[in-house]
């Protein structure tokens, strides 16, 4: 949230995805199930490399400004994100600590994943550019993925593959939309879309 440069944002996303891949790898080592290895590798390749590369490509093509242009100021965003993280821990507390509802080694990651979802959502709300909104959505997806892998040791492989494919296509389409918005309004500032009302 603190980054005010687009490039930093994309790099941070790549880093987050790599960390996610590392976590998946750890889970795979502990459980020893083959398909989580595959998931870990896919995460690293697709989320850690292909998607950041595609985003950078789109940004180069439409010559987007380096500035992130927040709606909410950066110190305020940081405070709010801290608050959201607290809320996430507060919300997941009964699930994590009461009873043996979930019994995995990574169960504490649930709170973190919820916080990531919240922060991704908040990114979408508080930043103006279409590209940052794509980033927010991807962050949310990462959060969901984290929740899935940490609570249930991953979904069946076919579902995972579907999700990866989904996110890849989504980024493609959203990149395309960013192109179109840029072409029509000569900017990717979504506040201009306000004119479409009524």
């Amino acid at each position: 949230m603190a980054g005010n440069r687009m490039l930093t944002l994309v790099r941070l996303f790549a880093l987050q995805s790599l960390a996610l891949g590392a976590l998946a790898l750890t889970v795979a080592l502990v459980t020893g199930s083959a398909h989580i290895y595959a998931v870990a590798i896919l995460t690293v390749v697709i989320k850690g490399m292909i998607i950041p590369w595609m985003l950078l490509y789109v940004m180069r093509q439409i010559k987007v400004d380096r500035e992130v242009e927040p709606v909410v100021s950066i110190p305020m965003s940081l405070l709010l994100c801290g608050g959201l993280t607290v809320v996430a821990f507060y919300l997941t507390q009964p699930i994590i600590f009461v009873g043996g509802a979930i019994d995995t080694i990574t169960k504490n990651c649930l709170a973190i994943s919820l916080a990531v979802v919240f922060i991704g959502f908040f990114t979408m709300i508080s930043r103006k550019k279409a590209i940052t909104q794509i980033m927010g959505l991807l962050t949310m997806e990462n959060g969901l993925f984290l929740a899935a892998i940490s609570v249930t040791y991953g979904m069946p492989l076919i579902v995972e593959l579907g999700i990866f494919f989904d996110i890849l296509v989504a980024v493609l389409i959203m990149g395309l939309f960013a192109f179109r918005i840029n072409k029509t309004f000569a900017s990717v500032d979504t506040t201009i879309l306000r004119r479409l009302r009524d």
Partner: protein, 687 residues
């Protein structure tokens, strides 16, 4: 018993007809003939089923299998009450189907005959199924089918802006009504004894007092408003004078003739059969609303310059009359049920009022159908709906004129036509109320009688005006002067309706016992033996008055030619001299005729507090003030209900919508924030 086998045939024949008209849509001529012949056949099948149940007795039942057990059995049952309404639907359906073969030529090349044909078949079928459905959910499905198919038919002239906006008003109002009906059914369903059931057989057990008082009252009011919307009770009538005229005339005939009556059917069924009429205020409420409807309807009909709108307002009036009878029947029934031993004679009166309701329902569906078909024929020939542009059509369209005249006589309650018998029966039932000791009843019923009398007189004036302005004198426009007689199929359709309307009146002594068998199936009291004495009709409570339409008819049959020959021959032939009318030196033209607006102006003045007329006379002078170049006159009446009831409500809704519209910011971030906040709140609340 053929009915049992004929009912599935009825359904498959109309669906087949709808399909055939779509298949043959390439060949317009054939498509028209095939689809409406199929509709006529369907009507005939319906007629056979109805007559069999009415005359032979018994029931026809047909079940379609359902997979959802909770909704009950999807059964169609034709009992006597259903059969009576099927009779009205099928007889008018037959006339209109034949009429439509010729009438739809009007739209040749402009609008698809297949659309009209298939929708008409579905509409007709849904009418039959609405009055036979024996399950609340099934009924609502059929009711919606009926509403939607009629809506699509109203907007048939889809390139006509007026039709489309009228259709929109109609569909909004009718859905409002349906929503209220649904709520009423759910209230009744919640209180069905034992396992909750939507079957009417379970609803029937409600009358044993299973419903708490508040729920009963709520159900009564919801049903009255819900069905009143469809029937066109004031102030829920606003859609009716818009939508009925906007539809093609054959559809207007079906809508005004029978569709509004399905509401009467279901109200009789719900009030007498399901809920049981034990509170006297129910009847009084109905009576009050109905009296206002009758009066308002006829008053607006008198001022209307559009022939079909005048007829539509007259439907509002006639529905008012029917509901006056219904209200009276409910009042009598409630007092009878309060003390069956002491008030046995009131049961007779309730039956009499209900007979009047059913008789007038049947009569009105025939003659209003006839009048709408006549108006359609006039429009077919002149391409206008404005009364001021017609005139002189009696010479150019002789048969249409005669048939329309029969319809006008019937609706004006001239003996021995059918309208008279219905209103006479209604008067009898209302006049016999001195036996009830309740000040409210004793005040309201005489008011209803007065309204009935006033309405009758005004209705007669209204149809003198409509008939005179349309058919008499000289043509007032080029369209009217060039009019020619309509195709034979149209005349046949109108002819059957006119014949049935006349016979219904003259042979009413034979028809009333049949209707009595219907009301006795509802009320459990048969009064045919008291009501019909040979060829004379008399009310059941003593020597109050009696009347025989057959004898009046016979007398008229004899008296009219007699009077004609007597005046011609008895006084000896007088010398006849032909010459011009004295015209003050101005040549007489169609512009000096008595216009429709002129005819109704005295009534406009008398009732100006209701109409609030706005008249404007504009004169253009030449150089001298004595010589006028042009005088133009315009007169409008204020639409009271639209302006003082609907406009404030609409304004309120729009203001509320504006308030809510503030949250529509147009910015993605704001929308996302709404979702985010709601998500957070939900997560915290349901932690």
């Amino acid at each position: 018993m053929y009915g049992q086998d004929l009912f599935p045939l009825l359904i498959s024949a109309s669906l087949g007809g709808a399909l055939l008209s779509i298949v043959t849509k390439r060949w317009e001529q054939a498509c028209r003939a095939i689809s409406f012949t199929a509709a006529a056949v369907v009507s005939l099948i319906g007629l056979v089923i109805a007559l069999e149940v009415l005359l032979v007795g018994g029931q026809v039942a047909f079940t379609i299998p359902t997979s959802v057990a909770a909704l009950g059995h999807f059964t169609f049952v034709v009992d006597r009450l259903s059969a009576f309404f099927m009779l009205a639907i099928s007889s008018l359906g037959l006339c209109v189907s034949i009429y439509s073969i010729g009438y739809t030529r009007e739209y040749a090349g402009r609008y698809s005959p297949a659309t009209m044909g298939s929708l008409f078949s579905i509409f007709l079928l849904s009418l039959f199924l609405v009055v036979t459905a024996s399950n609340a959910v099934l009924f609502l499905i059929m009711w919606e089918t009926m509403s939607l198919s009629s809506y699509l038919l109203v907007v048939y002239e889809s390139r006509n802006r007026e039709s489309v906006s009228s259709g929109l008003l109609y569909v909004v109002m009718t859905h409002l009504g349906t929503a209220l009906i649904t709520v009423a059914f759910i209230i009744m369903w919640l209180h069905t004894p034992g396992e909750h059931s939507f079957d009417f057989s379970a609803f029937r057990e409600l009358s044993a007092g299973a419903l708490p008082e508040a729920a009963r009252a709520a159900a009564f009011l919801l049903l009255l408003v819900g069905f009143g919307t469809k029937a066109g009770l004031v102030p829920l009538h606003v859609w009716l004078p818009q939508a009925h005229p906007a539809a093609p005339s054959n559809i207007s005939a079906m809508m005004s003739g029978v569709m509004v009556k399905t509401a009467v059917y279901m109200l009789i069924r719900c009030y007498f059969d399901f809920l049981g009429v034990t509170d006297s205020w129910w009847g009084l409420v109905v009576l009050l609303v109905a009296s206002v409807s009758a009066l308002v309807g006829v008053l607006y009909a008198l001022m209307e310059e559009d022939i079909k709108r005048a007829l539509a307002y007259s439907t509002v009036e006639n529905v008012g009359l029917i509901f006056i009878g219904l209200g009276a029947a409910m009042v009598f029934q409630s007092y009878y049920l309060a003390d069956p031993a002491a008030n046995a004679h009131l049961a007779d009166l309730a039956a009499l009022a209900l007979i009047a309701v059913l008789f007038h329902t049947l009569a009105h569906s025939l003659f209003k159908g006839l009048l709408f078909m006549g108006a359609g024929a006039v429009m077919y020939a002149t391409h206008t709906r404005d009364l001021e542009e017609m005139g002189g059509l009696a010479k150019r369209m002789r048969w249409t004129g005669i048939l329309f005249f029969i319809g006008a006589l019937s609706i004006s309650a001239i003996p021995p036509f059918s309208g008279f018998v219905g209103e006479w029966l209604m008067f009898q039932s209302l006049l016999l109320t001195q036996n009830i000791n309740d000040p409210m009843v004793n005040v309201l019923l005489p008011v209803a009688v007065a309204v009935l009398a006033l309405t009758g007189a005004l209705a007669a004036a209204c149809f003198v005006r409509v008939f005179g302005a349309t058919f008499l004198a000289r043509p007032r426009s080029k369209h009217a002067a060039e009019a020619v007689e309509v195709p034979r199929t149209m005349l046949t359709g109108m002819g059957i309706a006119a014949g049935a309307s006349v016979l219904l009146g003259i042979l009413s002594v034979f028809i009333v016992p049949v209707i009595d068998s219907v009301t006795s199936s509802v009320l459990g009291v048969s009064i045919a033996s008291k009501l019909v004495n040979g060829l004379v009709l008399m009310p059941p409570a003593g020597e109050f008055s009696s009347m025989s339409p057959v004898i009046i008819g016979a007398l008229l049959l004899f008296a009219v030619p007699f009077a004609y020959f007597a005046t011609r021959d008895l006084g000896g032939r007088r010398p006849v001299e032909k010459g011009d009318t004295w015209d003050c030196g101005t040549p007489l033209s169609s512009r000096t005729e008595y216009s429709a607006a002129g005819f109704s102006n005295p009534i406009n003045r008398i009732f100006r507090s209701i109409y609030r007329p706005h008249t404007e006379v504009r004169t253009e002078y030449t150089s001298s003030t004595l010589i006028k170049r042009k005088i133009s006159f315009s007169s409008t009446i204020e639409p009271v209900f639209e302006r003082y009831l609907y406009a404030p409500v609409a304004a309120l809704v729009i203001a509320l919508a504006r308030r809510v519209g503030v949250i529509q910011k147009g910015s993605i971030q704001a929308y996302l924030a709404y979702i985010f906040v709601i998500l957070l709140v939900l997560l915290v609340v349901f932690r």
